[in-house]
Point group: C2
Chain length 337, copies 2
């Protein structure tokens, strides 16, 4: 265990209900941690805010990760520099990324936290929390391997103005597919077609999403990159092409409370669909290989992502609420210092 | 079109509600058909009764086959002998199988009806409607290719006392897996363990099916061969092993009326499951290859199946009701002559 000597951190005190995080989390003062053997301490430049964390705040059986114990610091991915190291290969000042905590200073086990030294030649270090990190890996594996996207396919992406979704949609285009993004509101839809160059965008607030999908994908959807679930999945299922693939990497609609299952599940049989659940911890060990491929596209300007940056650890909850309110475009992060 | 000269056939006059077929179907007299060029007529020895036909009696959008038009003869697989042929390669007296009609005499297009001459060296011609036909193909493809069953896997099969299910469970064992069957009632469960030699059987009428699955598969279910859907799928989803595969070839619970989707759909993400819809028309062209493999197991006595035979075309509706009442073990057929 790390010893502590001075630090602020977000503690989970209760199980949040719906999107009310403010009453469940408290910013507390802690001693600054000191690493034990095998550990490093990291002073955070940026914290990555991810929708999945919401799921782990609520005790649920059978989630893919145990719930966060009440009274503990919320875990999350951190980008920053090593303060002190008792782990081989890491030295003070190294730019690193790891699963740490929502805190000024994270203390992590080198072996189990996904701790990696980052390539300082990347123009903007924030890219390591976006296209060159977990969002990028999830997008690439989902589109290419899980979805088996082929040139000419029609690929539909939900939450396409979000971090993983917008990478997935761009990768679909890079691989020669036609890409359609789903997002909430006209501003995001304009971003998808104008800024990202997607072939079409669908506002999920439109009264008949199924009809909009049918109009945008008259030949059916070959690959659906799905982050959301709930009513959106039901709108897409009858618009899948036969033998279509659904790459399921999130169920945001399901995180605050369990939703009913897809009413149009019959379509999985009728259209001989394949639905595959997947998520990034399963391919984190392939990070270097995946990052190298993603970087070639980033360097050519084919893969871009805006960051929604909120300043200050004390403003984290406002930033996190923005993720669920759907106001953010791109990756939501907190700049800690 | 065939010209007709003498025949009885089951006509669909209304859309059946639930399991009341009797009021929706009428046995009518028709002229005996005469084949047009490219056609053959077949006098039926046996008709295969299949659950899917029920689905096509009710108009549904987005089924995998258009509904049966009212006023037309119910389509179905027939085993019998050619009466007259205007198609190359078929001669009067040939033992054949085809998608014909629920009738004494079927008239079929050789090119589009799956018409095949059958191997007369098979001891019991009925086997061509079971392990050596569509049920066998579906079971083999589902267990081996869709489910990617590995030696040592735990394979769970729903409707395991039914035609396709019992073949799937036996093939799982042949491929080195542990096989658990789900069926309705003690008699069927005894059949599964005593007669078929499955490793365990679960009565779906037990009050807590999920607990029974958990007890029978303490390490989780690697492959679920699913025919049923509805509440049964919900009982299985939280008992799937991580990276488990669900081979979905039927949704019997869904045929009479659309059921709610799986409430535990969240498990697809949590356990990184893969659900794949598939059905036999997609691999009918592989019939010879699949049949050859199945026959080696049939000839060794490793793959067996009882037939629930009802005599007389006029008793067809009673036999068909038995399929849904769950009283039959094995393949349900009608002996026409």
């Amino acid at each position: 265990m790390c010893r502590m000597t001075g630090n602020r951190a977000w503690r989970l005190d209760a199980h949040p209900r719906g999107e009310d995080f403010a009453s469940a989390l408290t910013l507390i003062d802690l001693p600054e941690p000191v690493p034990a053997p095998g550990q490093v301490t990291i002073t955070a430049d940026y914290l990555s805010l991810d929708a999945g964390t919401r799921m782990w705040m609520t005790p649920r059986t059978d989630s893919y990760q145990p719930p966060i114990p009440l009274g503990s610091i919320v875990p999350g991915q951190v980008l920053g520099r090593v303060i002190a190291s008792q782990a081989d290969g890491f030295a003070p000042g190294d730019l690193v990324r790891a699963f740490g905590q929502w805190a000024d200073i994270s203390c992590v086990d080198a072996a189990t936290s996904g701790l990696v030294k980052l390539d300082e030649s990347v123009a903007d270090p924030l890219l390591h929390l976006g296209p060159l990190g977990m969002n990028g890996w999830t997008a690439l594996v989902g589109i290419e391997e899980v979805g088996r996207t082929q040139p000419g396919d029609t690929v539909l992406v939900s939450a396409a103005a979000g971090a993983t979704g917008m990478l997935a949609a761009q990768i679909a285009r890079i691989l020669g597919a036609r890409a359609i993004g789903i997002a909430g509101g006209a501003r995001k839809c304009v971003f998808l077609t104008e800024d990202l160059g997607l072939d079409a965008a669908i506002d999920h607030r439109t009264p008949d999403v199924a009809a909009a999908v049918a109009a945008a994908a008259p030949g059916g959807v070959n690959v659906y990159f799905e982050n959301v679930g709930g009513a959106l999945l039901d709108a897409v299922l009858p618009n899948m092409a036969h033998y279509g693939r659904i790459a399921l990497c999130g169920l945001v609609a399901n995180y605050a409370e369990v939703q009913p299952g897809p009413a149009r599940f019959d379509q999985v049989l009728a259209r001989r669909l394949q639905i595959t659940g997947f998520f990034s911890p399963d391919f984190a060990h392939r990070g270097p290989e995946l990052t190298a491929r993603l970087r070639t596209w980033v360097d050519k300007g084919q893969l871009t992502m805006p960051f929604a940056v909120t300043d200050g650890l004390d403003n984290l909850l406002t930033a996190y609420a923005g993720l669920f309110e759907g106001t953010n475009i791109g990756k939501t992060v907190v700049r800690v210092r």
